[in-house]
């Protein structure tokens, strides 16, 4: 696995775990890879995976059942979504706002474009949302 610049490695590992949960590769309520197995797979120090798991545990995305291992929380998907939303609003939205301000794009335009984007790309999911 190649690590991007900027973001700390433990956060990238946490993001990988979140992806596995959102993609349903790791199901809610099921056991997930042990710290050692994930460290071997990613070729990182087990202490770094431990830190990522501590981070996810704090956000109640995974839970540690003593002596058995780590599990994806029953409500993991929702928690990942709200955690990602929080990060998006904190990190990416300000950049986006800065750009539309600098380029003088009215927010109404954005709203129209957003609607047509959803129509084009996520037609099938529209009923669910």
């Amino acid at each position: 696995m190649d690590f991007r610049e900027k973001q700390a490695i433990y956060l990238q590992i946490a993001e990988y775990v979140c992806d596995q949960i959102l993609l349903k590769h790791w199901q809610c309520g099921n056991k997930i890879l042990s710290i050692r197995d994930l460290a071997v797979m990613m070729e990182v120090n087990p202490n770094t995976v431990q830190r990522a798991y501590d981070f996810l545990q704090q956000r109640e995305i995974i839970t540690n059942k003593r002596g058995i291992g780590y599990f994806a929380d029953d409500d993991a998907v929702n928690r990942v979504v709200s955690f990602r939303k929080e990060q998006f609003i904190e990190n990416e939205l300000p950049l986006f706002f800065r750009n539309i301000y600098l380029l003088n794009v009215p927010i109404e335009d954005i709203s129209v474009r957003y609607k047509s984007f959803i129509n084009q790309n996520f037609k099938d999911n529209k009923d669910e949302k």
């Binding site: 900027k6 973001q7 050692r36 460290a39 071997v40 990182v44 120090n45």
Partner: protein
């Protein structure tokens, strides 16, 4: 735990390399010892394993003194030198000869590691290529299950897939009782394996810190112009701007760049000591 107490060492008494070095190395971590050529990395490792003796001061490894070279100590430590030496025997003969010195040696793991590192077990060891010999020694050392594992430039001579396999093996054998201590200047090979960093230069310990603490105190990023008003440890012009290592005043969680850290600390040791007080 490994404890250095006021260690002084020099190849001659007139010219000391290390002067009054005091530090402790904790169990459960993978240490990366970084330094330029001739900085004294191998010397430090040899003092730890008892092939060189301190001129003054002491080293204690889990309560034992390396320089007395007692079997009870030697069976708890394994040292892989940069240039490995193997006798003209087969792997099976080697195992029969040397494994009995290590009470926790695990034969099954040994052959598993050899398989994972793709070392063929036929033929005499001295006929193997350097890389194959090195991988053989790594497999043997890991199978010995010693409390302390010292490695001098372990990735030198390994091909690209073997380096990845080496990292996987290290991750799989690490546990909270062990100390793995590696010297390297191939920083990129081991960047994500190390969780404690030591930087030495000319016999001076310039930095001794955990990756977590380094990331708390320093921020690694690429900027369009170097910031003003914060401590700047290192800058390097890149295509996209300037890569900087600066004081982390906004609590950013950036990924470490050990190469930049190393350059910054060796070019600017006074600032490094200020940011990371020793002892």
């Amino acid at each position: 735990m490994i404890q250095f107490n006021n260690l002084s060492f020099g190849y001659s008494r007139k010219r000391l390399l290390y002067k009054n070095l005091t530090l402790s190395i904790e169990n459960g971590s993978i240490y990366g010892l970084l330094g330029k050529n001739g900085a004294g990395k191998s010397t430090l490792l040899k003092n730890m394993v008892g092939t060189l003796f301190p001129l003054e001061g002491t080293i204690s490894i889990n309560g034992k003194e390396p320089k007395s070279r007692k079997p009870s100590f030697l069976q708890t430590i394994y040292y892989i030198a940069e240039d490995v030496f193997v006798p003209p025997v087969t792997i099976k003969q080697y195992e029969r000869l040397f494994a009995p010195f290590y009470p926790l040696f695990n034969k099954e793991s040994f052959y598993k590691y050899l398989l994972e590192l793709e070392v063929s077990i036929d033929g005499k060891l001295n006929k193997l290529s350097f890389g194959q010999q090195k991988k053989f020694v790594i497999a043997f050392a890991l199978a010995c299950n010693t409390e302390v594992l010292l490695m001098d430039e372990p990735t030198n001579g390994l091909d690209i897939p073997s380096k990845a396999q080496f990292r996987k093996l290290i991750a799989s054998v690490m546990n909270e009782d062990r100390i793995i201590f590696m010297s390297t200047h191939q920083i990129r090979d081991l960047e994500n394996m190390i969780d404690k960093v030591m930087i030495v230069d000319d016999g001076n310990l310039l930095l001794h810190s955990s990756i977590t603490t380094i990331a708390e105190k320093l921020c690694f990023k690429t900027v369009t112009s170097p910031p003003i008003g914060v401590k700047v440890l290192y800058t390097e012009k890149m295509l996209r701007g300037t890569s900087v290592v600066i004081e982390n005043i906004n609590g950013e969680d950036s990924a470490l760049n050990l190469e930049h850290l190393f350059n910054g600390v060796t070019e600017n040791p006074a600032m490094a000591k200020q940011l990371f007080p020793l002892n």
